[in-house]
């Protein structure tokens, strides 16, 4: 199964405090372990929300909101995409992650939907459109 692993933001990450070189090294070693174990598919760190934007939807209305965003604990500072056997394995791997922040922090694990999860609600037309969209993003 695939899981998305979110490193949640903290006050420090939102202020753009860069990780110490010691943490950077530790994180590098951890990432290496993930690769060596064959479970890592992708991963990146995200810049603070002050450099992000939101688009708020209300019916036909679209409003653009500039960062930073207030609810720090709900924001994401980085992510991985892993392929693991089950959630228990994902939890064990997350436990091994060095604390990504100087203070207390949280990492959240969410299983990824598979195409088969949509089988009942997906019409052939919707499928074709999803395929086209994925096609156009594939060579990014």
């Amino acid at each position: 199964m695939r899981v998305m692993v979110f490193v949640k933001a903290t006050k420090d990450s939102e202020e753009g405090v860069m990780p110490s070189s010691a943490l950077l090294e530790e994180m590098g070693r951890y990432n290496e372990e993930l690769v060596n174990a064959g479970i890592m598919l992708a991963g990146d760190g995200l810049k603070p929300s002050s450099q992000g934007k939101r688009v708020a939807f209300d019916g036909p209305g679209r409003a653009v909101i500039d960062g930073p965003f207030a609810e720090t604990r709900e924001l994401v500072a980085g992510y991985w995409l892993w392929e693991v056997k089950d959630m228990a394995e994902a939890v064990e791997w997350v436990k091994r992650c060095p604390n990504p922040m100087p203070g207390p922090s949280e990492i959240e694990i969410r299983p990824v939907y598979e195409l088969s999860d949509f089988e009942e609600i997906m019409t052939p037309d919707a499928e074709a459109i999803h395929g086209r969209v994925q096609d156009k993003t594939k060579n990014k």
């Binding site: 060596n36 992708a42 939890v91 064990e92 195409l115 499928e127 395929g131 994925q134 594939k138």
Partner: protein
């Protein structure tokens, strides 16, 4: 944490650590069975202690230290026994002493390539490919013999036998569980890649509704491939195989229709292809080619798969490139089936006459006698060349040869479409 939860967490930790643990121990005691027993004993110790102490910060190192201590005790016991048998004592004692010392000094050794050493041992060419696959799934994948038996549609006793015999063969061969270097490396690596691809194909051949453990083999093989790629970043064929598996796996969801029938590549709903896997597959192929491995058999097969993956619709397929790739593939991996696929590719790239011209030679060779896809291909070329009466005969012959009911119906339908 509830006791059962702790128990589950410990077992998950063990599952993650098991292969590396067995690998490290096998290198010490030079015996897989004994290494597995020592690892199992370490788990039992952990199940007794961790619920009281909590799971240690580095559980892998804890398990390894525990198992190694046990191994040393074992050697000491052997040495005591040896003393009692004076006639053989002296020699054995010295050897046991040396081994115990070796273990002590190895305690601080780098664990780095031990897992790789175990993979090479499990995939040693002195063992049959089927046995290699079973033992690799057992040791590296951590599957139980029951799971392996279900995966290979075999009896548990058969698989257990196969593993026991393979271990015995490996023990008799006196392997060091080291990673082969130099000359030796190429043949041994080919044997490892063969096993991983065999595991992948076993999973890929599974049909919908079957035991889930079969499709899970594809994921396991891909994981093995990624482990190997991380450990051998300079070996182009490893990346060729990884690429081939990622791209083929990207089609898993599109490959069967609602009725469970296999859907041919050109008719698959490409919306169901997994774009992440395609992207990873293309990246691995780039890597194989950058390492100078474009002409390797796995890299070439990956390049063929990539041609289809890059085409947004079946009509966009670059058949000229596919034809050229098959021209190269038949040089490095000669096989009548490759020749037949090459003829099909040439017919798509340069017209049915080009395909027909290549078929003659294949038909004269006895290897594909009675192989339904051969007359089916000739029928298709003739049909596209407008020679309908001849095409009808060929489709009829192909239909008579196939044992697959669905394929037979399809071929008879094509025969009918030729009119009379």
């Amino acid at each position: 944490m509830a006791a059962s939860e702790t128990h589950k967490a410990i077992e998950t930790v063990f599952r993650i650590e098991r292969a590396r643990l067995v690998a490290g121990l096998a290198r010490l005691v030079r015996d897989i069975d004994q290494a597995e027993e020592l690892a199992q004993d370490a788990l039992v110790t952990a199940l007794g202690e961790w619920p009281k102490t909590g799971i240690p910060d580095n559980p892998g190192a804890w398990l390894m230290a525990t198992a190694r201590r046990r191994a040393i005790d074992g050697f000491r016991r052997d040495r005591m026994l040896a003393r009692k048998h004076a006639e053989i004592g002296r020699d054995l004692e010295e050897r046991a002493g040396e081994t115990a010392d070796a273990i002590e000094t190895a305690l601080d050794d780098d664990l780095g390539d031990e897992l790789l050493g175990l993979i090479f041992a499990a995939c040693h060419p002195i063992v049959s490919p089927e046995a290699r696959a079973a033992i690799t799934l057992r040791l590296i994948g951590g599957l139980t013999t029951d799971e392996i038996a279900r995966a290979f549609l075999s009896k548990e006793a058969t698989i257990a036998q196969r593993i026991v015999r393979a271990k015995k063969t490996l023990r008799t061969a006196g392997l060091t569980f080291a990673v082969p270097r130099g000359e030796d490396r190429r043949d041994r690596l080919a044997s490892v890649l063969e096993v991983i691809y065999l595991i992948f194909n076993e999973g890929y051949a599974a049909t919908a509704g079957e035991d889930l453990i079969r499709p899970a083999l594809c994921a396991e093989a891909r994981r093995l491939g990624r482990i190997l790629a991380a450990a051998l970043p300079e070996e182009p064929e490893v990346f060729g195989l990884v690429s081939l598996m990622e791209i083929q796996a990207s089609r898993l969801a599109a490959r069967t229709g609602p009725d469970g029938a296999l859907v041919p590549l050109t008719e698959q709903n490409r919306a169901h292809w997994d774009r992440l896997l395609i992207r990873r597959g293309l990246a691995a192929l780039d890597r194989a080619e950058a390492l100078g491995g474009a002409a390797g058999p796995y890299a070439l097969q990956a390049a063929l798969a990539a041609c289809h993956a890059r085409a947004r619709a079946a009509e966009d397929t670059d058949w000229k490139k596919i034809a050229a790739l098959y021209d190269t593939l038949r040089e490095v991996m000669p096989s009548p089936v490759v020749d037949l696929n090459r003829a099909v590719a040439h017919s798509m790239a340069f017209g049915p006459e080009a395909g027909l011209a290549l078929l003659g030679e294949i038909e004269r060779a006895p290897a594909l006698n009675g192989y339904a896809p051969l007359p089916a291909a000739r029928g298709d070329f003739l049909f596209r060349a407008g020679r309908l009466a001849e095409a009808r005969d060929q489709f009829g012959r192909a239909a008579a040869l196939t044992r697959n009911a669905r394929e037979k119906a399809f071929l008879l339908q094509r025969a009918t479409a030729c009119g009379r």
